[in-house]
């Protein structure tokens, strides 16, 4: 910088009056003087910068890794609580923020906390912070959510926060802590999202992204400038000094690194000790019995017709479609509820027909085939431990009963249990072995590394949930190879989702965290995954069209995946040789 570009410096030397007054040529009592000097040294020193809350983190719930502890420490104590956490995908940025928030909670500097995430991830954040760090947040999707001025710890989708309804209340508060997940979505300074973050007032902020640069290096400028205005000077200065004319490489890298080091932490997978065991995927599709086939077709026709005539709630219809491939028991419960709750149903007879078709099923194919898997496990795995996941309580009940009839040790886990009961159930499963049949209530934060076989008895249409299920057993600390069995009936929606979508994006082999990048890209383009699946199913007028529609969705997904990979690679290349993970000391 030239001299004329620098601000002035005024220097004042305070007269040493106190010191002069205290000075006498005679000897003074040194021990007192020593205390004065030491007290000055300590008083000016940084406060203890140990993560004091670490000892209260439950190691059963979360295994803290060295790079995560370092990142939390640096963000809090070296970056004055304003940091861009830019670890590569899958290194646990959420855990780092969890530790930071836990420590701030411990030090009582977190009276009001706002976590902004993509919509898809809000509930997951809530679950992880609660289960792993004992931190309770209200999510904007919770029934109890009453607005941004009504709670002090909020997790919200960024789009809800910027909506006309809430924007004012979000901006009118002074937040102690702001967390922004997938921060690259505010890269563009001309968007409402950017404007929201720019106008928010907060004392501490933690932005998370694996890819600070999406398209061009200006993205990095925008994100960092939100966190630390002025760190890079003006936009022109940044361009002039750090970006070459071609817009795709950085110049003056040392200077840039030095400045980024003040605000950005980027751990790389290769430098950490994270090592996952192999994951073996076994997808089994079964021919449904004739009565099951008839039932499936009847339900699908009913759902299509009801949806096209707008005579049914979309969520209920969606549930029927999911239940028919889960179990007749689950379906029966919902249909009964529909019939009992509404006496003026115009399509009562169709529902009653479906009930008859349910009753006509003598053998449930999936249930029978599940025995094969648990039997194999009983022969080959210690204490025959298997976790079977289903989305529905009725299915869970039916599966449990059938397993018990066959003489298997079983355990049930669902959202109706208290935290203590849940803990007891997991303990019993660990000690006694056998089969744990669980709903997705298990997906939030509980770790079951002692088990290495899981079965997707039915399949959520939200891939994040699938990832969470797998994450219960395939995580840091799992020492054995993990087996994931997927069960689906042939020519059903489940098979489409499984074969056409999930296998296409290699969902079952994704690194933890990769998926959210793909999905938030999809979400950013205004689409919801479950809705997409449902719309395609009900709107297809022929088998061929349905296949084509799913193919198109798969292509879209693959494109998002490729884009994510490209962006990730680009960031790796840009930050190559950047030593942002260590201090200069």
């Amino acid at each position: 910088m030239d001299d004329e570009d620098l601000v002035d410096v005024e220097i004042a030397h305070e007269a040493p009056d106190d010191i002069s007054d205290a000075y006498t040529p005679e000897a003074s009592e040194f021990p007192f003087h020593r205390l004065t000097v030491v007290a000055n040294r300590l008083s000016a020193g940084q406060p203890d910068t140990e993560l004091r809350s670490l000892s209260s983190v439950d190691e059963e719930q979360v295994k803290l890794l060295e790079h995560q502890v370092d990142a939390a420490h640096r963000a809090l104590f070296e970056m004055d609580g304003k940091a861009l956490l830019a670890d590569e995908v899958g290194l646990g940025k959420t855990i780092e923020v969890g530790m930071i928030l836990k420590e701030m909670h411990y030090r009582e500097t977190d009276d009001s906390v706002l976590i902004l995430t993509p919509a898809q991830l809000a509930k997951q954040w809530q679950g992880e912070l609660r289960e792993k760090f004992g931190l309770d947040f209200v999510c904007n999707y919770d029934g109890e959510f009453q607005g941004f001025d009504a709670h002090d710890r909020i997790i919200s989708s960024i789009d809800t926060a910027k909506s006309d309804r809430y924007r004012h209340s979000v901006l009118s508060r002074n937040w102690d802590v702001l967390v922004l997940d997938e921060a690259h979505y505010v890269k563009n300074e001309d968007t409402d999202r950017y404007e929201l973050i720019d106008k928010l007032t907060y004392d501490y902020a933690f932005f998370l992204t694996a890819t600070p640069i999406q398209n061009e290096l200006t993205d990095l400028y925008n994100i960092v400038s939100l966190l630390r205005p002025g760190l890079f000077g003006s936009r022109e200065t940044f361009h002039h000094y750090f970006v070459d004319n071609g817009q795709d490489t950085l110049v003056n890298r040392n200077e840039l690194q030095q400045r980024l080091h003040q605000v950005m932490i980027r751990n790389r997978r290769a430098e950490t000790d994270i090592d996952f065991t192999n994951r073996e995927i076994d997808t089994r599709t079964f021919q449904p019995s004739n009565s099951e086939r008839e039932l499936y077709e009847a339900v699908t026709d009913y759902v299509r017709e009801a949806y096209s005539e707008d005579r049914g709630q979309k969520l209920v219809l969606m549930m029927l479609q999911k239940e028919v491939v889960s179990s007749p028991a689950a379906l029966k419960k919902t249909i009964r509820k529909q019939l009992d709750a509404n006496n003026e149903l115009t399509h009562r007879s169709e529902l009653e027909t479906i009930l008859e078709k349910i009753d006509a099923i003598e053998t449930v194919t999936k249930q029978e085939r599940l025995f094969d898997i648990v039997e194999e496990a009983r022969e080959h795995v210690e204490m025959g431990r298997v976790i079977v996941f289903t989305q529905f309580r009725a299915t869970q009940q039916q599966v449990l009963e059938s397993l018990q009839e066959q003489g298997y040790t079983t355990h049930a886990f669902h959202g109706g249990h208290s935290s203590q009961e849940k803990e007891n159930i997991v303990d019993r499963f660990r000690e006694e072995g056998g089969v744990l049949v669980s709903t997705d209530a298990m997906s939030e934060g509980r770790n079951l590394q002692f088990c290495n076989i899981m079965v997707n008895y039915d399949l959520p249409w939200n891939p994040m949930k699938v990832e969470q299920r797998i994450g219960r057993i395939h995580r840091i600390g799992q020492k054995r190879e993990v087996f994931v069995f997927n069960m689906a009936l042939e020519d059903t929606i489940e098979e489409y989702v499984l074969e056409r979508l999930y296998h296409k994006i290699d969902l079952f082999q994704q690194t933890v965290g990769e998926l959210s990048t793909i999905l938030t890209r999809l979400e950013d383009s205004g689409k919801g995954f479950e809705d997409e699946i449902f719309e395609r199913l009900v709107n297809a007028d022929s088998e061929a069209n349905l296949e084509n529609d799913f193919e198109a969705m798969a292509v879209d997904l693959e494109e998002q995946q490729e884009l994510s990979e490209k962006v990730e690679n680009f960031n790796s290349a840009v930050f190559e040789n950047f030593d942002l993970g260590a201090t200069d000391d």
């Binding site: 007192f32 000055n40 940084q46 406060p47």
Partner: protein
């Protein structure tokens, strides 16, 4: 640059608190993480009215001090009270630095350290005592942007020559002012009968302030650059805003001009006197509005022509740095000056060399090559020549 700050760990704080309480005459009975403290009657402390209290060492976040019970932890109120009391107790002291303090460990000149020669023997020969002033100087740097910083620098200067004794600040800090390392009486006992007058003392302290500031200049330069960048970003924002305003004004003027034309037509075509008067009044209003907008635009354009210099100056002025130095504690140090004799060896041969030296401070003056008289330095270290010691340049 000798940073005098100490990271506040529990163990340092515990050592400090123990020493403080004992020094003011308290009896401390330690029972694991709990201390039972009894103060003598003549001691008056700010934090407690009673003469008996308990101190609880930090263990658990939920630990709260009860009545007559104080939690000692980094950032705890009690810790801060202790530090505040100690800070004001005795800002000036005296001590003595002698050769014994080094225990035979000398600070060799850099032109020896950088040489290939080995020091096989060294001895210090004190010739006379001198007085130095050791000062802990607080340097605060303030800006309106977030880069506010505080330094605590330790410096030592010789009281009469006012030259900086670079090695002494570190020695004094480590030997005398580390809470975990309490010096014995003989270590610091000041046997010197010499003293310095108040004026000399004050001049030396002022010099210490200036020296401390010089030592952190680089760090201040970094802060200045950061503050300048923040000012630049703010100014840039202002510039963009003005350009936007210019564009808005242009649109507004165009709109007023169009409306003026319409009103002019109305004047010409007014069917009644009343309508004509209305139209004329409207025209007058619009003309005034137009003039006002034109003036505003002209003002901005003029500022723009001058690169918004006034605004830039104002922003830069607001972001300026205020640097303040304040000595917070000073120690008068009596120390020995003399010469260090070094026996230097290379491949079985050895030679002796002397250099001006001060206990606690290291070598104090330049030394020239015994052969060519060139100044010895890390870049021109001493070497073993055929006929004796030489330097790199003359070999």
């Amino acid at each position: 640059m000798t940073d005098a700050t100490l990271p506040v760990t529990q163990s340092r704080l515990t050592a400090f608190a123990r020493e403080y309480l004992q020094t003011i005459g308290a009896s401390v009975h330690e029972d694991g993480p709990r201390w039972h403290v009894n103060l003598p009657d003549y001691v008056d402390v700010e934090f407690s009215n009673g003469s008996e209290f308990e101190v609880v060492l930090e263990t658990d976040s939920s630990e709260q001090g009860g009545q007559d019970e104080f939690v000692l932890a980094p950032e705890s109120e009690f810790a801060q009270q202790l530090l505040d009391e100690a800070i004001s107790i005795s800002p000036v002291g005296r001590l003595s630095v002698t050769d014994e303090l080094s225990g035979g460990e000398y600070q060799y000149p850099d032109w020896v350290v950088e040489s290939d020669l080995q020091v096989v023997d060294a001895s210090f020969m004190p010739y006379y005592d001198r007085e130095a002033v050791f000062a802990v100087v607080q340097i605060g740097v303030e800006t309106v942007s977030e880069y506010q910083t505080q330094f605590l620098e330790a410096v030592s200067i010789d009281a009469s020559s006012q030259e900086e004794l670079t090695g002494m600040a570190e020695t004094v800090l480590q030997s005398f002012y580390d809470p975990k390392n309490e010096p014995g009486d003989s270590d610091w006992e000041d046997n010197s009968t010499e003293s310095i007058g108040t004026e000399v003392f004050e001049a030396a302290v002022s010099e210490c302030q200036q020296t401390a500031l010089d030592n952190v200049r680089e760090a201040i330069a970094d802060i200045r650059e950061s503050a300048s960048r923040a000012a630049d970003a703010e100014f840039d924002e202002y510039r963009q805003l003005q350009n936007q305003q210019l564009s808005d004004l242009r649109d507004e003027i165009e709109s007023v001009t169009t409306r003026l034309q319409n009103v002019a037509d109305d004047v010409d075509t007014a069917s009644s006197h009343e309508d004509r008067v209305d139209a004329l009044q409207k025209r007058e209003e619009l003309q005034a509005k137009q003039e006002e907008l034109e003036k505003k635009r002209a003002d901005i354009l003029e500022s723009k022509q001058h690169g918004f210099e006034d605004k830039r100056r104002e922003i830069y002025q607001r972001h300026h740095l205020e640097v303040q130095t304040k000595p917070v504690a000073t120690t008068l140090v009596s120390y020995e000056r003399g010469e260090i004799e070094l026996r230097l060896a290379d491949c079985g041969r050895n030679e002796t060399m002397r250099a001006p030296y001060a206990a606690g401070a290291g070598y104090t003056d330049t030394v020239n090559c015994p052969s060519c008289q060139a100044k010895l330095s890390p870049d021109n270290p001493v070497k073993m020549g055929v006929t004796g010691l030489r330097c790199r340049k003359c070999l």
